[in-house]
C-alpha cells in the first residue's frame, strides 16, 4: 500500500497546465508593463488573456478532468486551516490534487482574474473618474499578494511532501494512488487554447 502511494500518476491534464503557465506569463507581463503607457497595448492584451483564461477555468472547473474540477478541491475554510496546521505541525496531510488551502487561493485568484481586467477595461475606456483606475490598482495588488501566498504555499507544501509541486504543474505527474490517475490528458484542448490565445493577441495588438 505504501509502495502504491508513491506511484507517479497523471493528475493535471494539459488544459489545466497550459492555463496555469499562460496565466503566469500574462500575470508577470501585466505587472512588467504596468508602469508605462509605452507598453499599454501589451498590458491590455495580457488583461484580455487573463480574463479569457479565467472564463475557461470556470468552465473547466465544472466540466474538466477529475482533479481540475471545483468539486474535487473546493472545501470550507475549516479544511484549509486544518491543512495549513498539518503542514506546520505534521504529519502533513497529502492530497493528490489541490490541497484545501491551495483551493482557496485558486478560487480567489479566479475571482480577481475576472474582476481586475474588468476595472482595467473601464479605465482604458475612460468611462469613469478616478475610482476605476484606483480599484484596478488595488485589485492588482491584492492579486499579487495572493500570488505571493500561493508561491509560499507551493514551497512549504513541496518541502513538507518532498514533492516538487511546481514541476508537477509542468509534467502533470504527481504522487498518488493509481486509482486517482486521470485517464485522458486532453492535449487537443490545450492546443485549441494556445491557438485561441494567439488569435486574441493578433487581434488585440493590431491597431
Amino acid at each position: 500500500m505504501v509502495q502504491k502511494m508513491k506511484d507517479k500518476i497523471l493528475v493535471w491534464d494539459w488544459p489545466t497546465r497550459v492555463f496555469h503557465w499562460l496565466l503566469v506569463a500574462c500575470f508577470a507581463g501585466s505587472w512588467i508593463t504596468s508602469g508605462s503607457d509605452r507598453y499599454l497595448l501589451i498590458h491590455v492584451s495580457c488583461g484580455y488573456t487573463i480574463f479569457a483564461l479565467m472564463v475557461f477555468r470556470l468552465l473547466w472547473g465544472l466540466a474538466g478532468s477529475r482533479h481540475a474540477r471545483f468539486a474535487s478541491f473546493l472545501r470550507g475554510p475549516g479544511a484549509a486551516v486544518g491543512y495549513v496546521r498539518s503542514l506546520l505541525r505534521g504529519p502533513a496531510a497529502h492530497f493528490t490534487g489541490h490541497n484545501p488551502a491551495g483551493g482557496w487561493a485558486i478560487a480567489l485568484m479566479i475571482v480577481l482574474g475576472l474582476i481586475t481586467p474588468i476595472f482595467g477595461w473601464i479605465t482604458y475606456n475612460e468611462w469613469t473618474g478616478d475610482w476605476a483606475a484606483e480599484t484596478h490598482e488595488t485589485l492588482a495588488w491584492a492579486f499579487l499578494i495572493l500570488v505571493g501566498l500561493h508561491l509560499l504555499g507551493v514551497i512549504v507544501g513541496s518541502v513538507a511532501h518532498r514533492e516538487n509541486l511546481a514541476a508537477a504543474m509542468l509534467s502533470g505527474f504527481k504522487r498518488g494512488d493509481a486509482t486517482e490517475a486521470i485517464p485522458r490528458a486532453y492535449g487537443w484542448l490545450a492546443l485549441v487554447m494556445l491557438i485561441g490565445v494567439g488569435l486574441l493577441w493578433w487581434w488585440s495588438m493590431s491597431v
Binding site: 508605462s36 503607457d37 509605452r38 507598453y39 499599454l40 497595448l41 473618474g129 483606475a133 484606483e134 491597431v207
Partner: protein, 133 residues
C-alpha cells in the same frame, strides 16, 4: 431599480462633493508654488505651450498623443486609441477631479519626463491649456 437609482444618485453626490473647477485646481497650484518659493512670479501660458510641445529626454512629448492642438481629440501613440481633448474648453470633464488630476500628473510626467513635474511645470501646463479656446 429604485435602490439602483438611489445608489447612483448617492454616487453622483459623492462625485459632486469632490469636484472642482480647473480654475480652482490652478489656484491650488499657485498657492503651492508660493509656499514653496516666496519669489514665485506666476505661471506662463507660453512656457506651458513650450513644455507641452517639447520632448523632455524621452520618446514622447505631451503633443505626441494629445496633438499640437489641445482642443482636438488626441490619438494614443502606442495604442492608436482616441483620447478625449485635454483642454477644458473642449472637454468640460478635464481638471475637475483633483484625485484624477494628481494621478495623471504623476503618471504622465513619468511618461514624458521620467520624473515628477515641478509645481511650476504643472501650473504653466494648466495655464496654457486654459488659454486655448
Amino acid at each position: 431599480m429604485k435602490k439602483l437609482l438611489i445608489a447612483l444618485s448617492l454616487a453622483g453626490l459623492c462625485g459632486l462633493a469632490v469636484a472642482e473647477t480647473p480654475q480652482q485646481i490652478l489656484s491650488g497650484l499657485q498657492a503651492e508654488a508660493k509656499q514653496a518659493d516666496p519669489s514665485f512670479a506666476g505661471f506662463s501660458a507660453d512656457r506651458g505651450k513650450e513644455f507641452y510641445n517639447t520632448k523632455h529626454g524621452k520618446e514622447w512629448a505631451c503633443a505626441s498623443c494629445h496633438t499640437t492642438d489641445p482642443t482636438k481629440e488626441g490619438k494614443h501613440a502606442a495604442t492608436g486609441r482616441a483620447i478625449k481633448p485635454i483642454a477644458p474648453s473642449a472637454n468640460a470633464e478635464r481638471f475637475t477631479d483633483p484625485e484624477k488630476v494628481a494621478r495623471l500628473y504623476k503618471r504622465m510626467c513619468g511618461e514624458v519626463l521620467g520624473r515628477e513635474c515641478t509645481v511650476q511645470e504643472k501650473g504653466d501646463f494648466l495655464t496654457y491649456l486654459l488659454s486655448v479656446k
